[in-house]
């Protein structure tokens, strides 16, 4: 049975790894999603946090569709105002970012499961009646759009309004049920007429213009920042912090290098979120982390760079070096990861992070055995493993001592810390981890809203 501390992390991994689409077949009474229980379980634990998981970095469209479905199908009885507002913001953003055909599938699933709360109907109507490519959508997906509209309005109401619109009547009935949701009343009326046309009526085929409805979402995707990676990786182009540490290792400390190190860490620290909790770091500084030739000191330098950032951005960081001591630690000694982990866990940190090149030899297998035995103890701390690499293409064969047991991360360049730090902090167990996750995702929501500027607002 999974411990509570493991569940949130498994859910995040699930959202990224599981890419199966959200499917609703017309002949089926409910959508086909075999991870429904998992979604429900997280939704029940914390609805706000669940909603915010829609923006986990790397989440698949299929999983976003599931979250959208869950938010729309669920009753808001007893929900606080702030939670309703948050849910609406997430829904609006998802509606803009997810392909329209997938959104229509979600709406169809809502119809099949007879989910029709006030907020459900409102979002459906707002989406359909204000879609920028409404003409193409009603022309190409006429049947499903009509079904969905009738689900949101009620069949009789929808048909009643359509009949009146066809006769040019725009009374309070028509306005109150349909037109009040539309920014462009005439476009909405034209679409309704087309949806309910009969073969003899002189209904205009809506003209198509602009971007195709199935591609509109492409305009509302957050920009993916492309990061320049050097073609040839050297000891000193993997980030300024590690580069400075390599020089310190090679030639010893001097005031100039130490000052530069301080400044680079200061600068980088400001780019990352803070964590209001305790982190224990098991830092592998054994002989193998030295490397050799052109790679000498590189892996250890980047590990120490991460240590320095964590020291700045965590309320409480304790460091347990494995192998060499001092600052920066001398790369020497063997690699015992199991015993140091047990030692740091005694402090009951919110998170334990093992940073290593992966070559455990005292004794190989001991770390895995400790981690496998931990669920049988009273330890609540989440443990994670970070592989320190020289370059992106380093293979980790023969050096994955925790494979399949705890979450693993990799880094080789200072730029990797942008995704790594929040991912680590989110892994922290208990209140601290949940609080960080909520805060970080909430901030991410604001950033996304500014960047994406969804038309659904």
């Amino acid at each position: 049975m999974l411990k509570n501390t493991e569940k949130p992390n498994l859910f995040k991994q699930h959202l990224v790894v599981e890419k199966a689409p959200f499917v609703q077949k017309r002949a089926e009474l409910k959508p086909g999603w075999d991870d429904e229980e998992l979604h429900l379980s997280f939704y029940r634990e914390d609805r706000d946090l669940y909603a915010l998981h829609a923006f986990v970095p790397g989440i698949s469209v299929g999983q976003q569709a599931r979250i959208l479905f869950q938010l729309l199908r669920s009753s808001r009885n007893g929900m606080e105002d702030e939670s309703r507002k948050l849910s609406d913001r997430v829904i609006r953003l998802l509606l803009a970012m997810i392909p329209a055909d997938t959104v229509l599938t979600v709406f169809l699933a809502l119809r099949k499961t007879r989910a029709n709360h006030k907020h459900t109907a409102r979002h459906i109507l707002l989406y359909i009646l204000n879609h920028e490519s409404l003409p193409a959508m009603v022309r190409e997906r006429r049947a499903i759009v009509k079904d969905i509209l009738e689900h949101a309005l009620g069949k009789n109401t929808a048909r009643g309004c359509a009949a009146k619109i066809a006769e040019g009547i725009e009374d309070t009935y028509v306005y109150g049920n349909i037109l009040k949701h539309a920014n462009d009343a005439s476009a909405a009326k034209e679409a309704i007429c087309y949806l309910y046309r009969n073969e003899t009526a002189d209904s205009k085929v809506p003209a198509a213009s602009g971007i195709h409805y199935s591609e509109l979402h492409e305009l509302y995707k957050p920009a993916i920042e492309s990061r320049e990676t050097p073609q040839t990786i050297t000891a000193t182009n993997r980030g300024d912090i590690a580069a400075t540490l390599v020089h310190i290792y090679r030639g010893g400390e001097n005031p100039e290098l130490l000052k530069a190190l301080e400044e680079y860490v200061d600068l980088e620290s400001g780019n990352h979120p803070s964590f209001d909790g305790s982190v224990a770091l098991v830092l592998d500084s054994s002989a193998s982390t030295r490397g050799s030739g052109e790679r000498e000191f590189c892996i250890l330098s980047q590990s120490v760079a991460l240590q320095l950032l964590l020291a700045r951005n965590c309320a409480n960081l304790s460091v347990h070096p494995v192998g060499g001591e001092g600052f920066p630690p001398v790369p020497e000694g063997t690699t015992d990861l199991a015993l140091p982990l047990l030692t740091v866990l005694e402090q009951k940190p919110d998170l334990a992070v093992i940073v290593s090149d992966g070559y455990e030899n005292t004794l190989q297998g001991d770390l895995a055995r400790v981690l496998q035995a931990l669920p049988g103890t009273d330890v609540e701390t989440q443990v994670v493993f970070c592989h320190s690499k020289f370059s992106m293409s380093d293979k980790l064969t023969l050096r994955r001592p925790v494979e399949g047991i705890i979450p693993e991360f990799e880094f080789w360049h200072q730029n990797d810390f942008e995704g790594l730090l929040p991912s680590l902090f989110m892994m922290a167990s208990g209140e601290k981890g949940a609080a960080f996750t909520k805060k970080w995702f909430s901030e991410r929501l604001v950033i996304l809203e500014k960047e994406v500027q969804p038309w659904t607002n």
Binding site: A287, S288, T334, L339, L345, N361, T362, T377, L398, R399
Partner: protein, 324 residues
């Protein structure tokens, strides 16, 4: 004349042992000790391979003004634009001396074995070739190991030919990792190597610097090749100790300590009770007080160097009969 001596007379009381390192099919127990007094030239970086006179005849030079080089047993040389060779026996090369070794094994069976762009680098013969190489010392036949190299290549699933570079070069990415999987320690003068929990070799150097120089050739290419065969080719997963148990951290720690004690004890037992109690001893060469001898019994053979009563160099490895 051969002497018969008890194994215990290989006095290792001057050495201390550290806790074993284990990775995959191999376990290594580091040995520590003070450097033996004397000027010992580094065997890989200090000695010069002057050239290859003809197949099977390599010229080694100790160009230093002082110091003796104990050439490690079964050291081999990979060199660009030259046929690669390995030596069958250890030897002494004094300061300023140039020696032609006439019984070297050529480890490439044909011309096609040149390495492109490779600098000179060193290896020690893979463990499973060492018994035959030692047996054939003195025999001036450069192709004497080819059949055995071909057999080893077959074991690795490689082409059946007498080209050792098929393993040393093509499997280099895997073999090189042994240098990271097993970490050399400051003050280390030797090591005990175990493959599949059986003693595979005892390696001792006169000084820390000497051992550091020969470490990679030993751990990656000699014992590493045997471990790789078990791990990658035979697919034998090393069976680690039983799961740990404990309802809290203190109990878990205790469980871990006990498990490690058990491992250390099993290693100790292996050393206290060697399968055969004596070694035959054959003197090969002397250099001032240093005496080089070949040692053999049914399960182990190799060479050692004594300075008077003190063991200062050893390269003793398990024979095929021990692993059978």
């Amino acid at each position: 004349m051969d002497k018969l001596i008890p194994i215990q007379s290989l006095d290792m009381s001057g050495f201390s042992f550290d806790e074993p390192q284990r990775s995959g099919a191999m376990t290594v127990v580091p040995l520590f000790g003070e450097d033996h007094p004397g000027d010992f030239i580094l065997p890989a970086s200090g000695l010069k391979l002057s050239g290859v006179e003809t197949y099977g005849k390599v010229v080694l030079e100790n160009a230093h003004p002082t110091g003796v080089c104990i050439v490690p047993l079964h050291i081999g040389y990979i060199q660009d634009q030259a046929q690669n060779h390995a030596l069958c026996s250890s030897l002494f090369i004094g300061a300023g001396q140039k020696v032609t070794v006439k019984d070297a094994c050529c480890v490439q069976a044909s011309q096609g074995g040149y390495l492109e762009g490779a600098n000179q680098w060193f290896f020690v013969l893979p463990l499973s070739l060492r018994e035959k190489a030692l047996e054939l010392r003195g025999k001036e036949e450069f192709g004497k190991l080819w059949d055995h190299i071909a057999e080893l290549n077959r074991d690795f699933g490689l082409q059946n030919r007498g080209h050792l570079e098929q393993i040393l070069s093509r499997k280099k990415a895997y073999l090189n990792q042994y240098e990271h999987r097993f970490e050399l320690q400051p003050g280390q003068r030797g090591a005990l190597f175990f493959v599949k929990n059986r003693l595979a070799g005892i390696e001792i150097a006169p000084t820390e610097a000497y051992f550091k120089d020969i470490w990679k050739p030993l751990v990656c290419f000699s014992y590493g090749a045997s471990a790789m065969l078990e791990e990658e080719v035979r697919g034998i997963k090393e069976a680690y100790a039983a799961p740990l148990s404990g309802s809290n951290l203190a109990e878990l720690k205790e469980s871990l300590f006990q498990s490690r004690k058990d491992t250390a004890l099993s290693v100790e037992n292996m050393l206290r009770h060697p399968p055969k109690k004596s070694l035959s001893f054959k003197e090969e060469e002397r250099y001032t007080n240093l005496v080089l001898s070949t040692v053999t019994n049914k399960f182990f053979s190799g060479q050692v160097v004594f300075d008077g009563e003190t063991l200062i160099y050893a390269s003793i490895f398990a024979r095929k009969a021990y692993f059978a």
